[in-house]
Symmetry: C2
Subunit: 304 residues, 2 copies
């Protein structure tokens, strides 16, 4: 190893090891990350006190479990645009665009039947959401699994809000033979991401707001198709252009409002309600990916 | 905000906020870090699964408290060469070079008198270490505080080793009127950094060894001088060229071995012992820094 100087230390770190012989992809990631982190430290001439603040910040993010029991690390990567950048880099422009899972997904939501209501929220505006799951060529995909989760009309998820019953506004549906899905829910409200921890403090110091535009989360899987995690957004939300996770792209739906008495009667509603449609398009899994997708499918099926 | 694409997302993140109006230095750091992290993600085309492994890794580093009670985050930055790079960037080549504090410093070590022995270790080789604390112009600095900590002859610090009494091989000395310090200790052994956690696993996967070259840690402070944290290394150690924290630079001391009977008798030793000398050179604090140094000094004094 050459003497350690400002000019040699980055290469010294990269060369300390087996050069990726045993784990080439890990080494590729490590080499790039070390190079960019060192370039950052040089660029801002980071001080020891600032480095210590950085270490403390990451530890605090990891240990702040009041709002998100697994810690804020996942949310932090969303707030820095890193998670969405990863989505964008792997979007091949075929099928429905993928989007962030976010930190509020819960495994094993209740299985529901087509047309079921997703949750309890007397103050919410009812929304009937329906559509189909299709192949790239437009053919329907039957027996696709659709896992849905969303906040209520106050912008809160069940796991953040003791006033909601567990599993409220979460559910798993299966498409019918024509690829159709449909359920009744409420119009979700946009919300501020959990901000009482270090990530929220960072946003405040940077003058960043904490709003997410109103959205509904989906995870779709079907045998022989690539799984899809995505979100659809509600047109007209004031934060579509400045969502704090940078995750709003093209999946935006317009809601139709219905208030005519005969419409209310037909849907058995006592106040105005909304409808909208969204079709999901899944890509065929390549042979290499089929195993993974099958495993997801079986896993989802097993977890009833 | 422009539509979010691979090409616009980095600027969108940087522009989401007040442009550094309230906290310009934080914004400078944030802008540079976000740019470099995004460049890294693009360069390796990071996948969602790899990003999740990264989040999990940082959480595990933060929560692995079996070996270092505060977690491994500090050690991780040392192992990536980031901590040493920060040292190098702020080294103005005047006075003794600074070096890493490392994660094993403990506040409020016992106060000791010049010549005292630093710890108990019947199997260790005794080392008499002495020298002076000087100004850049060679004048001695009296009443400088020297905080010393080191592993024993097996490479273990007291806080890692229940067989050592608390505070073993830690102590605080004050220089005399001629700037002199002196103490009796054992020749420290190089050691493997704590490696049972995620950071150790990373090094193994990269084929990196976990050795630190044998060293003794120092923190020095004196009224009107800039505080110094550094390490001195023992010549001949096999890992001087490949220390896993990249922290070995020029502060390397040669040990003199003494085994003649009259030498042993003069020092009251029953087996061969070693001596060496090292002079520390402190820089005057600028007016702006004086307050900080004074505060350190008072703090160290208060913590008896």
């Amino acid at each position: 190893m050459k003497p350690i100087t400002i000019d040699t230390i980055t290469q010294a770190v990269i060369d300390h090891g087996d050069g990726g012989k045993t784990h080439p992809r890990l080494y590729e990631i490590y080499t790039s990350l070390v190079s960019h982190l060192h370039a950052f430290v040089r660029e801002v001439k980071l001080t020891e006190s600032e480095l210590q603040q950085g270490r403390d910040f990451l530890n605090q993010v990891s240990h702040h479990i009041e709002e998100i029991p697994t810690g804020e690390m996942h949310m932090l990567t969303d707030l820095l645009g890193i998670s969405e950048l990863v989505e964008l880099l792997h979007d091949d422009q075929r099928g429905t665009e993928g989007n962030l899972e976010g930190p509020l997904y819960v495994l094993n939501a209740s299985e529901r039947q087509i047309g079921d209501r997703l949750g309890v929220d007397p103050e919410g505006d009812t929304l009937f959401l329906s559509g189909r799951v299709l192949e790239l060529n437009g053919e329907p995909i039957a027996h696709a699994l659709i896992d849905v989760w969303q906040p209520n009309s106050k912008g809160l998820y069940d796991i953040q809000d003791p006033s909601q019953p567990p599993g409220n506004f979460r559910g798993r549906f299966t498409t019918d033979a024509s690829g159709k899905y449909a359920f009744e829910t409420v119009v979700p409200m946009g919300y501020n991401v959990p901000a009482s921890g270090p990530s929220g403090e960072l946003l405040r110091l940077l003058g960043r707001h904490t709003w997410r535009a109103a959205h509904i989360h989906f995870k779709l899987s079907a045998l022989e198709y690539t799984s899809l995690t995505t979100q659809i957004y509600i047109a007209g939300d004031p934060h579509l252009d400045s969502d704090t996770t940078f995750a709003v792209r093209s999946a935006i739906v317009e809601l139709q409002k219905h208030e005519a008495p005969e419409k209310l009667q037909a849907r058995n509603q006592s106040k105005p309600f909304y409808t909208t449609e969204f079709d999901f398009v899944l890509k065929s899994a390549t042979l290499a990916e089929t195993h993974k997708v099958t495993a997801d499918y079986v896993y989802a099926g097993d977890s009833k």
